[in-house]
Amino acid sequence: MKQKGKGIGCMWYPIGFTVAANPSAATVKVNEDGTATLLTGTVETGQGSLTVLGQIAAEELGISTDDVHVVSADTDTTPMDTGAIASRTTYVTGNAIKLAAEKAKEILFEVAAPMLNVKPSQLEAVDRKVQVKGFPQRNLPISEVALQAQFVQGRPPIGSASFNPPTVDMDPETGQGKPFSTYVYATQIAEVEVDDETGQVDVLYMSAAHDCGTAINPMLVEGQIQGGISMGVGFALQEEMLFDEKGVQINPNLTNYIMPTSLDMPEIDVDIVENFDPTGPFGAKGVGEPTAVPTAAAICNAIFDAVGVRVTSLPATAEKVLKLIKEKRANENKQLAPAE
């Protein structure tokens, strides 16, 4: 018979390296037509980080995502970056880019201030315009300011900056310290169906509520969460590298190493928990890794709720779950048997 169950997985996860320096540097160049080019040494590994980083630069300069072109991943031309690791790109590289864009913007403001008869500190960059705070009708198109800066005043609006998350060393004996600048939090709740005759587990539904600080691009955050859940489903139920008694892997191929296909995926609802981290770029933290963290826990708790067996070693394959169900039944029968 198929039994349904629900289970929670709740987690916290840090952004960036544990204590160790993990800096990023960035350069933002505003072109003479008000578009911009961003140089970053991070690598797009599929998350959409270049799009998010472009959005951060655009936000600081008051222009649109499409106005920023991102150049990345070339050690000869792009600045130092610790890279696509430790869920650090949006937070660490993002902060470096925000600072770099701020510097380029300062030049624009210094050039625009006399044109608008105000001080640079009275200006803001909004909707592709440099405008006076509180007097949006007093403005100049960013293209005009950038052109003026570059070709009249001879001050190309370029900014470079770096960022490293502030941490405090951990005491070697007690581990006390501040190993990370910030953390994210999340809960996933799974609904599963367990066939108690075969041990087969199907994940039917997953509700996922993740904190990432400000979602710079909600669509890409959803994509990370959905992808993380698929990796979590594989970790929970299917995937395992197996070795023979001589330490040689016996399933080094995708025929015998089973990972989730489109048929293994549950229906997913994603919620982004509203949050703002004052230390992140525009309040953002990160989302990449945490999405894969609580899934297996939620699924195994749902298995427990469905059939009352506790999986203590992953993956919860059908064989393993069936064995646990049989053991549980044998114990129950023992208890039911009349005393001798």
Partner: protein
């Protein structure tokens, strides 16, 4: 051996060693690198192309087996006027992340929509079951295929 075939509507020929797979033929002889080598043994679907209307793992087919047949690759899907609705909807929803599985998945989906213009979610999942993706959880991919199907049905009704 000499192979003659039609690729994206154009007749082509090549002379290759007999052990050449369709995948290598496309990538190495015709520079059509949209079909990817993910496993080279038919497990991952990254090399999917359409052979005479059937989505096929091109790594499992020898060049000799496609003699005289018609191949569609990802490079032939868009034309100078417009993207294919699948390509447009995959882009709009951010369906692909690293993108390595993308050409194969889009071609599997194309065959599905060619055969079944109004698939339900299970039918879409079924059609994509041979294409592995590690990034996306398939969620936005399945949504984009459904959206593309709706758009194509709309276009047909309007025509």
């Amino acid at each position: 051996m000499d192979v003659k075939l039609t690729i994206n509507g154009e007749e082509k020929s090549a002379s290759v060693p007999p052990e050449t797979t369709l995948l290598r033929l496309l990538r190495e002889e015709f520079n059509l690198t949209g079909a990817k080598i993910g496993c080279d043994v038919g497990d991952c679907g990254a090399c999917t192309v359409i052979v005479d209307g059937i989505a096929t793992n091109s790594c499992l087919m020898l060049a000799g087996q496609v003699q005289g047949r018609s191949i569609e690759t990802i490079e032939g899907l868009a034309n100078m006027d417009d993207y294919h609705p699948l390509q447009k909807n995959f882009e709009d929803l951010g369906s692909l992340q690293c993108g390595f599985c993308g050409p194969g998945i889009i071609l599997s989906a194309k065959q599905l929509l060619d055969d079944n213009p109004d698939p339900n979610k299970e039918e879409i999942q079924d059609a994509l079951a041979g294409n592995l993706c590690r990034c996306t959880g398939y969620t936005k991919i399945v949504e984009a295929v459904a959206d593309a199907a709706r758009e194509m049905r709309g276009n047909r009704e309007a025509a």
